[in-house]
């Protein structure tokens, strides 16, 4: 029988992989992809709790809000990455140190 725990473990795996990508990759687009993985993991959690523990649809409503925030986040993030690439000719985050004093 597939229960709440199964979904939570899958979501934990997705989240950990996202954290791993966030910490180890230095390409800005790659970091954005890892953030998408983390947001998806959070969403799986919300929907699983909505199905198995809450008994209502509040979790799914929050899931829709998470998708909205993810869409705006990736649009603005990509705009920043493109501007950075135009300035520095590199997508590497370690070279984005213009604001460093």
């Amino acid at each position: 029988m597939i229960g709440l725990q199964h979904y939570l473990v899958v979501s934990a795996a997705l989240f950990s992989l996202g954290i791993l990508g966030l910490l180890t990759r230095r390409n800005a687009v790659h970091v954005l992809m890892s953030i998408e993985l983390i947001l998806n993991a959070a969403n799986v959690n919300l929907v699983a709790f909505s199905r198995f523990a809450a008994g209502n649809l509040d979790g799914q409503v929050f899931g829709v809000f998470v998708i909205v925030v993810a869409a705006s986040e990736v649009a603005v993030g990509l705009a920043i990455v493109l501007t950075l690439y135009r300035l520095r000719r590199t997508p590497n985050l370690d070279e984005a140190d213009i604001l460093k004093g």
Partner: protein, 165 residues
């Protein structure tokens, strides 16, 4: 093992496996295409959880919008003959320690806790979600639409070429 379990394991393996490819692949374009399968797998998990509206939204917004945007990001920040992707990974060992530790802690908590509550029987959700958006969650709904507008204008403002610069 019944049919639901088989479908769950297929979707779980597709999701986690392609997410691993996203994170570990050396070529950025492979990561982008593996992300497609991750999004499809998560949409399948939503269907198994009885969230039909959210599964459709996941396919429309993530696969149709966010993934295309990320592919544009890959193409606009790399030359097509740019084969030496140097300095792609740093801090591999600390990152691995943090990620594995996090996974162990989270999944141990999830498995060992006695979760209680009502199980909602599968039912169509679209009408109910619409009611919640225009009733109980009206203010967050309006705030989300303003957020989308602000993000749209902000992204356009950031990438436009300034004439005086």
């Amino acid at each position: 093992m019944n049919a639901e379990a088989v479908v769950f394991w297929v979707f779980a393996i597709v999701t986690v496996g392609s997410a691993a490819v996203v994170v570990l692949s050396r070529q950025l374009i492979y990561s982008a295409f593996a992300l497609l399968f991750t999004f499809f797998g998560v949409a399948g998990l939503y269907v198994l959880l009885g969230a039909d509206f959210l599964a459709a939204t996941q396919l429309l917004v993530y696969v149709g919008g966010i993934l295309v945007l990320l592919l544009f990001g890959v193409m606009l920040t790399h030359k097509i003959y740019d084969l030496d992707l140097k300095a792609e990974t740093t801090q591999v060992v600390p990152g691995l320690i943090v990620a594995v530790g996090l996974f162990v802690i989270l999944s141990a908590t999830a498995v060992r806790t006695q979760w209680m509550g009502l199980v909602r029987p599968p039912a169509p959700t679209t009408r109910e979600i619409g009611r919640l958006f225009l009733g109980q969650y009206l203010l967050p709904f309006e705030a989300a639409s303003v957020l989308l507008l602000v993000a749209l204008m902000g992204a356009a403002m950031i990438v436009r070429r300034r004439r005086d610069a």
